[in-house]
Amino acid sequence: MNAQNPSLRSLRKKALLLGSVGAILLGVSAFIWPDRAWANMLASAFFLVTIGLGGAVFLALANVCGAGWHVAFRRIPEALTGLLPIGGLLLLATLGAQLSRFTWHHHGTGDPGTFWFKEMWLDSRFFLARAFLFILIWILFSRILVRNSIRQDETGNGDRRINAGISVVFLAIFAVTFSLAGIDWIMALEPMWFSTMWGVYQFSGLMMATLACIVLGSVFLRSAGPMQGIFRDDHLHDLGKLLLGFSCFWMYIWFSQYMLIWYSNIPEETFYFEKRMNTPWLPITIGNLVLNWIIPFFVLLPRPSKRNQGIMVKIAVVVLLGRWVDLSVMIFPVVVGEMPLWGVPEIAAIALLFGLGSLLFLRSFTLGNCVPRNDPFLAESMHYHT
């Protein structure tokens, strides 16, 4: 029934068009500015993977907590996990295309900071195999969580304890693998630098982007039809509270990382911020804080704005933009250089990200029913007051 919805179908066409234009432009710019195109590709692919993974994390968290409030719009985080396979493939292709950026021992052993574990860890084969394994594990767990939910539509059976058990295992594995993935794919671009806050910093960004995507997807599907009368302002309100909370969490983690490095003032740690604050990147670094915390915090603080769909959509867009800027600040100063550049490759990457992301999301959303119709908590979720 979903697949016939005309507004969804036309949007899928537009998303496909946007994604293709982005992909072509990015492909062309790879010949003109190979470094910039690669950095954009890494940011986009990592962005896609984290949103897909974030959908699974949201489901797992809800299962572990025994939550019922999210059941009415559970198909939206479930549809987000549909971004994982293609996003993962893109990411693996990106990593494989310029593997030399991560493997640092090709300078020859004996470099400062070299020791056997680091060399073993960043060995190209082990690096790629690990990336493959991480993505495979995430796809596997998200498939299991979504499959159990879809199966419940037909059979009506769904043992919440089994799902909660799977989710506990997944969250434990996720905590380890995602920390390592963030370190591998982004922090290892600067192999001489290290931060123990990095894993949790990546996690905070993942949660923010995922919640923003759930808000955008729910509000869009409510106005387009399928979620009308199902997704309520009370759900929006609670998503807004979570977004506000994780925005503060992100700022807390960002500042914790910054302050520890600022305080101890050791050259092998400070050069990360040196590169991003004593260069023309400074305004972008400050803009990152404005987009990810200052704007969401002050706008989402009053109750009415969390229940207002227009405001929530704008904040979700700001947060997603902030996530892109956050990833740019992590990646671009290393790969591209001291000068923040903005042009065709960046616009192409954002178009690819938005087009491909919406296309994959809508494709997996239209596969099944738009509500888990046999979930025993559906009634509770639809009469939910916050």
């Binding site: 500042f255 302050m259 600022w262 305080y263 003032n265 603080l301 109750r303």
Partner: protein, 178 residues
Amino acid sequence: MSRRVLLATFSHENDLLNAVAAVRERGIKIVDAYTPYAVHGLERAMGLKHSRLTWVCFICGMVGALGMLAFEHWTAAIAWPINVGGKPWNSLPSDVPVAFEAAVLLAGFGSVFALFAVSRLFPGKSADVIHPNSSDDRFVLVMDESNASFDTASVEAMLKSFDVVETEERILSGAGQS
């Protein structure tokens, strides 16, 4: 200040919710409702205005954060500068954690004490129980009778349709029940 009120007691939350809607439709002023647990949708049915406590919380938090930043700047850079790790006197990053804690502390205490003040709660206050079962299995609705147009008999008859368990007229004295 004392006033005449009508107490209506229900045994189900839905009866209370429907009665509140009907009572408001008749233009009767509701003094308060007492329930054993938080009834979802009751504040909306009663037409309660949104609490201003959030503003108290926000302002206390801002005072805590900005006040502590100012105080730290004064101590560290003006009154008694101490060289810590060769950092400049007015180092903002080192001030942030304490300012954050002060914001949380003031926002928390400010909200709690503002709530106590507004509800006139203080240690040792004797409990003002409107109905012995209002914290057990009864939902109590308190209506203002002071309006001259209040017709007790017809209100009681109307409440019958919501399975009212008992009604009782009472004179409330003092501010505790407002």
